[in-house]
Amino acid sequence: MEFFLVTLLNSLSYGLLLFMLSSGLTLIFSMMGVLNFAHASFYMLGAYFAYQTSTYVGFWPALVIAPLVVAGLGALTERYGLRTVHKYGHVAELLFTFGLAYIIEEVVHLIWGRAPVPYRIPEILDFSAFSIFSTQYPAYRVFMMLISVAMLVALYLVLTRTRIGMIIQASLSHPDMVQALGHNVPTVFMLVFAGGAALAGLAGVIGGNAFVTEPGMAVSVGTIVFVVVVFGGMGSLAGAFIASLIIGAVQTFSVAFDYSLLSLFGTIGIKVNTESGWMELWKVTIAQAAPVLPYLLMVAMLIVRPKGLMGTREG
């Protein structure tokens, strides 16, 4: 029970972090039809900027500055990169973001080196918030969840209750009409891209010190975020939310289980020929298979329901 509760809380904080990434990706995708391969790179940049800023002025200013800088970079990317290649079609746009992700990783190598940087949790948050049975639960995890939930509520309110949110929603489905009504749709696109980048950057700020800040973090998180978006259904925010929580839970729980098919056979009483070539497959524990599980889930979803959990369009 203790193990279950602690892991549940961990998976919740991780899942919320995933949603901060996938929400921006989904918004950008449904608006411009561009899958931003550099989205996780913005997450990485957020973490690195926060580390660099926090060495000068501390964690709290970094929490604000880093996402803003990332948002600025996102706006520049949209204005001078994506808008230029837009006329060549979606494949060129996709390749552009792919190349950008590649370059960001190399630049990070160049500036901060290949080893992880010592980006730590601020001391003021480095205590245990409460204890579940005998486990002390770290306050920083609670802080992460608070930030994520606050961000979610803010995003929801902005999208549904404000004027700019209405324009964004209208531009999603009827960009031409919105343009005809006198709104500058390209600028709206730029804002959404910058906003998505800022969300990713913020996720980097609070995720970078909870996990590890290293040049490989963009690739490892990026592919998981793609799995989340495909699993939840392309272009659906609600789907992305549910998928984030599910994938987060799967990843967090699976590393803790030490069962394999062999132990299952043992429990239900099947004798296994230990000499057979399948032995290696039977011996794989859930913990060992943990890195593959999200992808297996994705493939299973694609076979059963190709448009994803809550997706509206296919292909």
């Binding site: 561009v34 979606h90 590649y102 370059i103 190399e106 160049l110 592919t223 799995v227 593959v292 493939v299």
Partner: protein, 408 residues
């Protein structure tokens, strides 16, 4: 295509074969032969990738899966040949790799080709990650982190050929490369190849003509897996980045990926000797190509065909020379900045902050070299913007001449 015998095509292919035969006799240094071998493998891999991206319009991030699985199966087969448990000539080993690529292409293709466009790209990435994660789960097949090792000098020598010397390996690779090139070119001439183009350009119309786009994508992906597997198996005998190769060369032309594969392999071996930041230069090159020449090098070549035909190419020479000079200045500044940054970050602790760059000694801890480099970068950028006007004017002349030739 007329019914006449395609003499020109025969000429092009013969010339290519001649180049492949003569190349190792001209470039005899030890590393040149291995580089040529790499190029041969890269050509097959890039062409097989272009079957997806260029011909069927499927942007795949998982093509290395078929290359890698082909390589692993071929490696196991090679070890089995060495242990005398499998009677199979080493020179036909690529067929085993190709078969493995084909089988996995069929399996993964069944799942992925139900989608196209962006979802396909994402799913192919997911599959690639899945296979990569799996490879660490089954160490007895994939050899864990260290991989598996092989010895290519196995089996009975056929007419004295035992694939010991690397020159023999090169000719094996060249032969396979040539055969695969012809096979893949021939494929573009078949109804399947034509339908693949139709599916790329307009899947809806392709469906109206009576072809199932999903099935066309599936066939193309399976066959591309086959050729990628062949490339992977050759890699095993011999000891990247295919998207970059295909794209830089030009995905719209059959020959584009060949140019890209040769160029990228050469740059990889040449640049990585001089600088550790070569991956960054590479990425920047890629980005510049996407922004300004999305058709790749092959399209740049065909773009100039009308200018040469109307004899107005001379008009472009001077502006181009100016643009090249400006770009060279820009690159000089950029390279200086990157190299100094790299030196300061990685080597300064061991060898001090002084480095030599373009034959000059400079101290990266002082501000002066940074200001100079940034100044050069700025001057190059301004010059480039300035010269671009003349390039545009030159093209104006060309367009006028082309229109006149057309009688407009």
């Amino acid at each position: 295509m007329s019914a006449m015998f395609p003499w020109r095509r025969l000429l092009v292919w013969s010339a290519m074969a001649a180049v492949m035969i003569v190349a190792p006799l001209v470039f005899t240094q030890g590393f040149a032969v291995s580089m040529l071998s790499q190029m041969g493998i890269a050509i097959i891999f890039a062409l097989s990738y272009n079957m997806l991206l260029g011909q069927t319009g499927m942007l795949s991030f998982g093509h290395a899966v078929y290359f890698g699985l082909g390589a692993f199966f071929a490696a196991h087969a090679l070890n089995a040949i060495g242990a005398n448990t499998l009677g199979w000539p080493v020179s036909l080993l690529p067929l085993i790799g190709g078969a493995a690529g084909l089988v996995f292409g069929v399996i993964f293709g069944y799942i992925t080709t139900k989608h196209s466009g962006t979802p396909f790209a994402m799913i192919s990435l997911g599959i690639a990650e899945m296979v990569a994660a799996c490879s660490l789960m089954f160490p007895s097949f994939f050899g864990g982190e260290g991989g598996i090792s092989t010895d290519r000098v196995v089996g009975n020598p056929v007419m004295g050929v035992d694939f010991g010397p690397s020159i023999q390996v090169y000719y094996l690779i060249a032969a396979w490369c040539f055969v695969c090139m012809i096979a893949m070119f021939a494929l573009t001439q078949t109804p399947l190849g034509r339908m693949a183009n139709a599916v790329r350009d307009n899947p809806e119309r392709a469906r109206f003509v009576g072809y199932n786009p999903t099935r066309v994508r599936f066939f193309m992906l399976s066959l591309a897996g086959f050729f990628a597997g062949i490339a992977g198996a050759l890699e095993v005998i011999n000891f990247g980045n295919v998207l970059l190769m295909a794209f830089i060369g030009g995905i719209g032309h059959f020959y584009g990926p060949i140019i890209g594969a040769v160029l990228v392999t050469f740059l990889q071996s040449a640049l990585s000797n001089y600088t550790q930041a070569w991956l960054l230069y590479f990425g920047l090159f890629f980005l510049v190509m996407i922004l300004f020449a999305p058709g790749g090098i092959a399209s740049l070549l065909t773009l100039h065909k009308p200018a040469v035909q109307t004899r107005t190419f001379g008009r472009l020479l001077l502006p181009y020379a100016g643009a090249a000079a400006a770009a060279a200045i820009l690159m000089l500044g950029l390279v200086a900045l990157v190299e100094m940054l790299y030196h300061l970050e990685t080597k300064a602790e061991q060898v001090g902050t002084v480095m030599s760059l373009f034959g000059r000694q400079m101290d990266t801890a002082t501000a002066q070299p940074w200001i100079v480099a940034a100044g050069i970068l700025l001057v190059g950028g301004v010059l480039l913007v300035f010269v671009a006007r003349f390039v545009r004017a030159g093209w104006g002349h060309v367009t006028v001449a082309v229109n006149r030739a057309k009688g407009i």
